[in-house]
Symmetry: C2
Subunit: 153 residues, 2 copies
């Protein structure tokens, strides 16, 4: 009897891609969170905002929301916290009084100058067992899944 994909028999979560991928991503994310949570008191959301501002120099909350696919409120709260700590500066855009332009402060840049090399080093350790070829392939396949996901939505 050939394997029957339409039946419920012999279903194994461990071989179910969504589950495997989610478990793995959760574990990685959580392990990495130690870097910025315990050592620099940053939430994941805050780290993402900082990293994007590092990359793009000046962004609005909306752009960050789109880039990270995080909830509106989550971004808002992360931004608030970062401003309170003096890591970013926000100022109403001259063109549109609703939007706020966000930028790193000097303190924010300093923090990232510490954080980014740490993050990179950690990633390097994580992917150490992969060959360059495998690593490239992984990113490639992930891209395909992302595109397919967009089509399914």
């Amino acid at each position: 009897m050939p394997p029957d994909h339409a039946s419920a028999s012999g279903f194994d979560l461990e071989r179910f891609l969504p589950y495997r991928l989610n478990s793995l991503a959760d574990r990685i994310s959580q392990a990495l969170a130690c870097l910025y949570e315990t050592r620099h008191d940053l939430s994941v959301a805050q780290w993402r905002v900082l990293a994007w501002l590092h990359h793009r120099e000046e962004m609005t909350a909306k752009q960050i929301r789109e880039a990270t696919r995080m909830d509106k409120a989550k971004v808002s709260r992360a931004v608030q916290a970062l401003e309170d700590r003096g890591l970013i500066r926000r100022r109403p855009s001259p063109q549109d009084q609703r939007v706020q332009d966000l930028r790193l402060t000097a303190a924010g840049k300093d923090l990232l100058a510490e954080l980014i090399p740490e993050a990179r080093a950690w990633e390097a350790e994580l992917v150490a067992p992969l060959s360059v070829e495998e690593y490239r392939e992984l990113l490639d396949v992930m891209g395909k899944l992302e595109r397919q996901l967009a089509r399914l939505e």
Copy 2:
């Protein structure tokens, strides 16, 4: 000037594996959650418990916790909810009055008989753009990352 992995220059979240992987897994997980959340009113945690019980027939809460790496409390609450809905049955183990043996009820089996083919079909659509080779490779690489993660912890 060669790329400098120890510096903070030119850091791009989009190329940072932990972030990419987490984004992707979140999106997949959330999309899939529609299947069992909106259509069958099951949380992700509940679905995982059911799926494991389908696979292993009889398990204790602790075994589920180990298998899924979910929080103690989360498992406890999922089990409670599933029992309330009559999808699983729990009964104190004869050997040890502390542990409870969990099993699917007939209703639980029926639900899975619906749910699993749906989940499989959805996964199949998701991975449709991947070749068999790529799919195998992906699982393989994920396994390597999991093992490396275990070493780093």
